[in-house]
């Protein structure tokens, strides 16, 4: 074939494949916004559900989602970031660290429903938390740990060795070097992992199914040991379990869920670019 023609064809195929990536995202967003936006108003966002969830709002599900994600992040960040620091900065290459790394890879490959059943067995039943924010958050935290550890490890690994050497040569201890030189440089990358973790935790349904999500609970939680309504599960309920529900109501619920994830991501992205600028 004529090389110029081949070049053109290759270019078009690559371009088409790239455009195909945008199509589903665009369609999801457009459909949800067009069908859901008309149903969104203050009552929908801030009222309790009523009439078997066919009327009223989704306030408890919004609050439940925010609480749950916040608690998840609270558990997952320290464990994830600290273990990444240990693996990169302190651990020597031996059987234990190889097993830890293998465990992280495997943890990432476990289907989310298995996490749900694990959380049910360990937190809800064995530790006696019952279906509660704490049980759901711990389950989600375990699920997003591999994401946070892997991205934090990559971020720490990419901090140049010369920064560490310069700091140590100035008489800083290893921990001071990590705290004052390595962590600030790795922070944007670590935040990226946290963003991914938030999105994942906010959107998953299977892990929260048995550990926290309430079918219908028109009041707000008072402690970590209360059950809550959560948006992804509520979306499943209103789209499959309740007959004669207005479709705008379903789409509006989806829109709120997507909106919350977007806002969380946006906050983290702004934070990240602020730290990037400092460097």
């Amino acid at each position: 074939m004529n090389p110029k023609l081949a070049q053109k064809i290759a270019f078009i195929i690559l371009l088409l494949a790239t455009i195909l990536v945008i199509v589903p995202v665009g369609m999801i967003v457009v459909i949800i916004v067009v069908k859901g936006a008309p149903a969104i108003n203050w009552e929908f966002l801030l009222a309790m559900p009523s009439k078997g969830m066919r009327a009223g709002g989704i306030f408890p599900a919004i609050v439940g989602t925010i609480y749950l994600v916040a608690a998840t992040i609270l558990f997952a960040i320290p464990v994830g970031v600290f273990s990444a620091i240990y693996l990169v900065e302190y651990a020597r290459e031996n059987l234990l660290t190889r097993m830890v790394k293998l465990a992280i890879i495997n943890l990432a490959g476990v289907p989310s429903i298995v996490y749900g059943l694990f959380g049910l067995g360990l937190f809800v039943i064995f530790l006696g938390f019952g279906p509660s924010i704490i049980a759901g958050a711990l389950t989600l935290a375990i699920m997003i740990l591999p994401i946070i550890i892997t991205t934090s490890k990559e971020a720490l690994d990419s901090v140049p060795r010369s920064y560490r050497e310069a700091s140590l040569a100035l008489g800083a201890s290893k921990w001071q070097t990590i705290r004052h030189v390595v962590l600030p440089s790795a922070l944007p990358g670590i935040l990226t992992g946290i963003i991914l973790g938030i999105s994942r935790a906010a959107g998953e349904t299977a892990p929260i199914l048995f550990t926290v999500a309430a079918f219908y609970l028109p009041r707000l939680p008072r402690t970590m040991f209360d059950q809550v309504m959560v948006l992804p599960y509520h979306l499943f309920v209103v789209s499959t379990q309740i007959p004669n529900i207005k479709t705008e109501y379903t789409y509006a619920t989806a829109l709120v869920l997507v909106g919350i994830v977007l806002i969380a991501n946006l906050a983290a992205i702004i934070l990240r670019s602020k730290y990037r600028k400092k460097i």
């Binding site: 020597r92 140049p160 010369s162 920064y163 050497e165 310069a166 700091s167 140590l168 040569a169 100035l170 008489g171 800083a172 201890s173 001071q176 004052h180 030189v181 600030p184 440089s185 400092k278 460097i279």
Partner: protein, 250 residues
Amino acid sequence: MTKIAVEKLNLFYGDFQALINVDIRIPANKITSMIGPSGCGKSTLLRTVNRMNDLVDGARVDGKIIIDGDNVLDSGYDLVSLRKRVGMVFQRPNPFPMSVASNITFGLRVHGSAKRGDFDNIVEDSLKKVLLWDDLKDRLDRSALSLSLEQQQRLCIARLIAVKPEILLMDEPCSALDPIATERIEQLMIELKENYTIVIVTHNMQQASRISDSTGFMWLGELIEYGATDMIFTNPKQKLTQDYITGRAG
């Protein structure tokens, strides 16, 4: 007066012996340069003095390095106080990704060795000593990474000076710089030797002969010859030294 006395120093990386029976006395307030082909152990020797080789897995060392009467290779020797007294400048300038001022105050913050109120004065003093103050006094909060390579290397020296070391180890400090910047850093070193003992590892024999008071020539882990710089370059005692200096070996 001898500042650093290295006695029967042997260093192994696993099975490989990188330093063989090195004995050398480095005088205070002079510039001592170490020359030799790549892999001869000159950088390794330098990195043993401030014990940066401790970071290398499988590095083993025996012998003594005596600074001010104490053997710094003793396992109980306090690394923090050693590295405060023995600063190091690296091959590539390696300022931290922070502002110019934070780079200089880093050591102070880590050691807690000065009050916050004195930081501004110390920044000014340190930058003046490396002749950067006039260029940077209005840009102290700019990122150090935005400086030219020469300015970065000067900043790295200023960062050391702020910690008040006695010895400066320089590991090919000009190899990333152009000839004009190199000459200016050399000028700076000559000015600094009044207050500091400087050991420089260099590939550049002209540089060694221009700036140093004494020179050591290393070959395959051994110190072949060590003496006054003009003696080494005009009248070496060892044939190997002569061959290397005239370009027949190396």
